[in-house]
Symmetry: C2
Subunit: 501 residues, 2 copies
């Protein structure tokens, strides 16, 4: 049994290494690669991607899993080996259902579609992308159809990113959230809008980077096992538990852009750095779902990084980092500026309160596309209509409308948006659970100390990697299934005070 | 035939992609990788290396080569396809002779040995490395013995780096060179030593990098298809013809270190950027030998970059880049400083005239090791003895003695040193041929223009990649076989004037 288990682990590590190598190529492409490297890089990434998929779906893995099943059944549910066999079987059975030719077609089409988006978006040319997007929809449906027996065609796609969720359960959760969010947004936006002009002063690049890195070092992001580089669209990436990197960007006249992206990505990265080293390279080595992952980034970015206690400690340091720039701005003004609530057009720039409305629009539209109740040709207008309906504003063109997010233009429709809102919901649920165990956490945050919070997250979330499914992990860590209540308590507590509503 | 040729090219491109991916991992390791990434990186590089070797020695390549031979024979010698089939056969027949287990052992032992050197060198602990070096010697002999029929055991090892050369021919060439170099060194070092204190002033990092990059951009290094990053031991590396990168390091109190490393590596990189794009990813995509490669780096570093004409143009710019730092230093003094000749201990810091004496010591010692006329246990003392004999100086310990260069501690003895001196010899031979075709090149250099020289090199050397063997390329480009005469003419012309000898 031990020999078989070791063979399985060795095979998984090979697959994991190929994915890690592919991630390194992607990181380099997004940070340092000169323009001339693009063509060969595409070819090299496709080659490694194909290899990874071949190895991940090698029938030998299926045989090993079958042979190991009696052993897994004999172990306690939460043993590492049982968890590994469970998680691997789930991934294997999912991966082998999609024919290699379809995987290759998705990947090739995704690359072409992404390139087209890169040039079409600045031109405001949705028409040029329409045929590509129609193909993307067709391919996404084909993938879903590899998993017959679904209730909604989006179910298999959602399941890949947020195991345990379905179109129906996400819809129900979002409807509940929407019902409570809309009145809150209405109440807040009836108040005078916060003045965030202090964030638009001149903040030199080096100081912005140093300040963000000082904070995340205190958060517990380990620079011996990671680093931060510059890119266009910030992300976190992993090559090993000992090498989890983040990226950011700097705008010298927008303090928030770099700072909150750094805090956000550090949350993703600390999750990955915190996985049990025994899981290195296997199916368990990585966060368990998109929603749980996003909960970690949003927790450190928003719940901690936009809290008053945090800034009581850090605001004087920020003022010192940029001498004479913020001396005339009281903490209260700064705190309101970084928590300004406003109906806006761009998801990634949206505040905590309105952010989820952006996500729900995308989620509903992609469900309608997959169902066939919305045609790609009507998508741009459907986007505008929903923004008018939900947020009361309309983008001047498609650039800030349907062309705004890269997701659909990366070769896949379905499954990629719900995680953002699940993450917001879960960030508050986990934080509430941490507070219950350690009520002094906010006091520590007010002193710039994060060890207790980081320790609780590592113990209850990070170290488990993918040993538990998201529903299991949520229940184990917070004591109850996913619920919007902690999140609404958090939002109400914070914003009713801020906006006196 | 065309289908078979395309299949061959596709197989070669696959191998080439794996080598490129491995190079990217190596580049990242030497530039940005955090310490925590080392272990997984080693594992990932070994995996890709194994894969590359497997694919490069796939019997299907041998079959294709056999099937394509009649086609190759029907083509003119200098057709691209004929060249590809020739070069691939040579590489394939060499690669298949070394058993995969030995390749893996070499690679694993090399990594362990390198790690041991990293820590033993600062400790001056040659004894700790002795058993590892004995193993390295044993493995190197085993590799040589995969090629029975050699005259000298080093022949197959030399052949891998400098095709066409053998222990005997290198020895003869070096003996000839030595005979002419030694009196020149003696005459120069009898003169007062040049004062290079002006290079040891304070030169801020950013200015050093900007100055070097300004020059190599003028040389013709294409930053759209490359970039420069910082590292400990500068090198050039290639991921595609469109992505050839260089690295450098900066010491703020040593102007020459960064500058000449940048010029040197740009020479290697321009060679690789200049390969015919039709060869992308195949056996022809890369410089033809270690010696020819080094000739390109030394040409741009020394023949151009340390010439008086060059500095007549660039010295005022250098002075402007570092205001008030060099105002009191006349061009003549600066020119003497960057061409200071001195018997010294460290190869990589040695001047143009004495440099080859360092190489010859290493070459002779490794031949003696391979022959068995020198034991590893006597190597450290043999090193000191040769330095006393050849250069009249003795290192205070082994750190600057036998532990100085990484080569032997990378898992291989034999083949890696002769290329440095072959490169010096060839740099002058190629430059003389370029001057013969375009006598106004020095005038252009004096105006900071390098287009004619770069064009000649691209046309006669770069674009051919590995289509011709080194001996063929040398003869085609310069009109005669390798000869030390141009090099000695160059050294005498320059240094007899500089030192009035």
């Amino acid at each position: 049994m031990e020999a078989k288990l070791n063979e399985l682990k060795e095979r998984l590590r090979e697959v994991g290494d190929y994915y890690a190598i592919s991630s390194l190529m992607g990181w380099d492409q997004a940070t340092y690669m000169p323009p001339g490297g693009a063509e060969a890089r595409g070819r090299q990434m496709a080659r490694i991607g194909k290899l990874a998929h071949e190895k991940a779906t090698d029938p030998a893995i299926g045989t090993l899993l079958d042979e190991l099943q009696p052993y897994a059944d004999s172990l306690p549910y939460d043993s590492d080996d049982a968890g590994l066999i469970r998680a691997t079987r789930r991934a294997y059975e999912r991966d082998v259902r999609v024919p290699p030719a379809l995987v290759a077609e998705m990947s090739e089409h995704g690359a072409r579609s992404y390139q087209a988006w890169i040039s079409a978006r600045p031109q405001n040319d949705f028409a040029a992308l329409r045929p590509l997007l129609e193909k993307t929809l067709e391919l996404s449906r084909k993938v879903a159809d590899c998993f017959p027996g679904y209730t909604h065609i989006a179910d298999p796609l959602i399941d890949m990113f947020d195991y345990g969720m379905k179109a129906q359960s996400v819809r129900a959760l979002f409807a509940q959230l929407r019902q409570q969010l809309v009145p809150l947004v209405k109440a807040i936006t009836a108040q005078p809008v916060a003045d965030d002009s202090c964030l638009k002063r001149h903040f030199p690049k080096a100081g912005q980077l140093a300040f963000g890195e000082e904070i995340i070092k205190r958060y517990g992001y380990d620079f011996e096992r990671g680093r931060q580089d510059l890119t266009h669209h910030p992300f976190a990436t992993k090559f090993a538990i000992g090498d989890v990197r983040i990226t950011t960007r700097v705008q010298e006249h927008d303090l928030g852009d770099c700072l909150f992206s750094t805090l956000h990505e550090s949350g993703h990265a600390m999750y990955e750095q915190g996985v049990d080293p025994l899981y290195e390279g296997t199916t368990l080595d990585g966060g368990t779902s998109a929603g749980v992952h996003e909960s970690q980034s949003r927790l450190w970015e928003n719940i901690v990084g936009r809290s008053l206690a945090f800034w009581e400690h850090y605001y004087p340091r920020l003022q010192a980092m940029f001498p004479d720039t913020l001396n005339d701005v009281p903490l209260e003004t700064f705190y309101r500026a970084i928590n300004k609530v406003q109906r806006s057009l761009i998801r990634v720039d949206a505040d905590e309160v309105t952010y989820n409305l952006h996500v729900m629009i995308r989620f509903d539209l992609e469900l309608a596309l997959l169902e066939g109740t919305l045609e790609v040709r009507d998508l741009a207008e459907a986007w505008h209509a929903r923004y008018e309906q939900d947020l009361g504003i309309r983008a001047p063109d498609d650039r800030d409308g349907v062309l705004q997010d890269v997701h659909w233009y990366s070769g896949r429709i379905g499954g990629m948006f719900q995680g953002y809102t699940l993450g917001n919901i879960l960030s508050a649920q986990f934080y509430e659970a941490a507070l219950k165990a350690h009520p002094h956490i906010p006091t520590e945050i007010g002193r710039g100390e994060f060890g207790t919070l980081h320790g609780w997250l590592r113990e209850n979330i990070y170290r488990h990697g993918s040993k538990y499914t998201a529903p299991e992990l949520i229940e184990r860590a917070s004591g109850s299934p996913m619920s919007i209540e902690p999140y609404m308590r958090y939002l109400r507590g914070k914003y009713e005070q801020l906006y006196k509503v």
